[in-house]
Amino acid sequence: MLSHILRRLLVAIPTLILISVFIFGLQKLLPGDPVLALAGEDRDPETLNRLRDLYGLNDPIWVQFLSWAKGVLQGDLGTSIRSGIPVSQMIATKLPVTLQLAAMSMVFAIFIGIPAGIISAVRKGTKLDYAANVVALSGLSIPNFWLGIMLILIVSVKFHLLPASGYVPPTEDFWLSMKTMIMPAFVLGTGLAASLMRHTRSSMLTVMRQDYVRTARAKGLREPIVILRHAFRNALTPVVTLIALLFGELIAGAVLTEQVFTIPGFGKMIVDAVFSRDYAVVQGVVLVTAIGFIIMNLLADLAYVLLNPRLRGR
């Protein structure tokens, strides 16, 4: 088991190197110049050149990459050109914000998506099933930013129920933090809930046709026990994989959601960094996201083992 985890972590190293090289190259292909983008109003050519030298932007691209990579190996992700703050420090302050958003969205997604999936599978072909499908399809098709703006206009502007945007850390004021986060988490969660619902439904439908479910029913077990203990537990494996994969979608969705609700998180940081060509920040964020993705997948693998005893001991 331990060797399995270690092997997986070792395999992750070349992946991370590849991703770093790829993103670095991609950024350099992007037209635009960080110094010029930042200069805006102060475009004195002499100043621009001095700043380019200062940030090493006049060096050949491979020198720039190697100096960045060298820093990373020493635990230094570089410094933001725009704010002058070390990237690791920026990530340390932004990551908890996005993790809170992601966790709360996941809670929404799981508590809406999975029960809806089970119910529509069990009640397949009924009005309830169709209704759940329509809701799920809408959840998938409605763009996050539109839903976000609509919610702000209705909940905050019209009825003054929740703050329109902003962020308060839970350590500072727990309830206010929940109040500011609930709308964005709901917006981000609905899209995920929809995919979770559809996957749970199809996985449940497959499992419900299995012989052991018929056997369980033949034994005279009550229907809720058949569904939850026998069918659902076995239907869960693909759903867990999906949750791990949805992590990527969650970060992508956070980019838009954080823009709309002005949450100072990871997503907003990467958007601002791309627009101002703040290379070090983009690199750092992508690297940390990739590591997060790898960890999520590893956790999903471990969860299979917990869910399926047959995989234990391998």
């Binding site: 983008a37 004195d44 704010s83 905050s156 945007s165």
Partner: protein, 500 residues
Amino acid sequence: MKFRNTLLMSALLCTVAMAAQSQTLKIGLESDPDALDPDRSRTFVGRIVFTSLCDKLIDVTPDLKLVPQLATSWSVSEDGLTVSMTLREGVKFHDGSPFDAAAVKANIERSKTLEDSVRKSELSSVESVEIVSPTEIKLHLSVPDAPLLAQLADRSGMMLAPSAFGGDFSANPVCSGPFKFKSRVSQDKIELVKFADYWNADAIKLDGVTFLPIPDSTVRLANLQSGDLDVINRLGATDVPAVKSNDALAFASATGLGYQGITFNTGNGVKADSPFGKDARLRKALSLAIDREAINQVVFSGLNSVASQFVPPASPYFDPAYPVHARDIEQAKALVAEAGFPNGVDLELQVPNRPENQQVVQMIQAMAAEAGINIKINAKEFATMLADQASGDFEASQVGWSGRIDPDGNLFGFVTTDAGFNDGKYSNPQIDALLQEARTTSDEAKRKEAYFKADDILMADLPLFYLYHESWLYGLSNKVTGFAASPDGMIRLEGVSKAD
């Protein structure tokens, strides 16, 4: 009785405390400022924050007059090479250290020598700073520099506490403005609180001010409507009716110092070798084909003002010889034919991919088509567009400038040979000489004469032409009183208060 008094007292205290709590003004900005260090800062929104945080030697009034702030008076010597200033007495920095002539000297030297200072070029004429007495200084210049005083009314003239130079200044800025730094969470908020020892403390009614960057204008407006913000900067022109019709909100605006226009590539690389790059008649034809007022009405609900020059009509340097001309499609057609294109001519026009700019060029495209000018619009993300412009990869560009108090700031860098913003690489020795003359004399009449002569040449050559002067539009909560919009787009909080 005693009990009742206590009760009364505590009730009173509570009221006072509550009033104090709500006297913090929340301002929504369109983006997050960069480093909070005037010597390193490059963003417009940064300047808005500094207006509350850092006092300057000189301030500017809504009608663009230079008035005392930390310097109470100043004079320029006959030869233009010495600027003498008398400083305000009894001024303290936020950390309690005193403001005096030594502090001014330290500040100017910091701006000129700090490795990543972006103020160097603005202060390049300052050779040395002489301390005459604790309240008097002399700036010795290498060449006469008329725009220098205006620079001292902006970031170059902001006085930081020398006691804070050693540390990471932008993480904890110490100045002498009406509000002092409390905290900053990047991309979230910047909190300032009232500075009790401010020299003009009586004019400051607020207990604090918080700046919140909210890029989306719809979301910014929603926050104002929900009461989460008190003031929003850069209200969208299309959102003005929503603000005006809302009883809880108020609207404020001022015509800005800047402009939006079209710059042509007349000499930067191979793309300058285009019909429009080579022939001023075609540039003139395009300018004549445009109905500026129609654009202003359609895209900006008439809130901006149409432009013909590098300064707005209110400026003393506005040249009466060149008012905004009406659309003249016949003359435009004639000029296109005269230039040798009776069957029409093509132009590639790049534009930032922002909705308003795109609407403007779409209208221009339609208007120009009637004169036989076929415009191909090339919308680009802003950073890309700037880079392409600098490298000469453009025929024409729809760009603008936020504007400066001194006319020099709106023209010199754009049209003199090899200047920083002269991306079309227009070059004319006469213009170079005239604009050099205008920046080295401080006599207004002489400066006007030089600018007006330059206007005659530029209006014929037309390396760039102007479309409109942008207005600064603000949405306010009705609770806010005393707010006045300034042409420089800065938010000044003297006299501003907020009701409960």
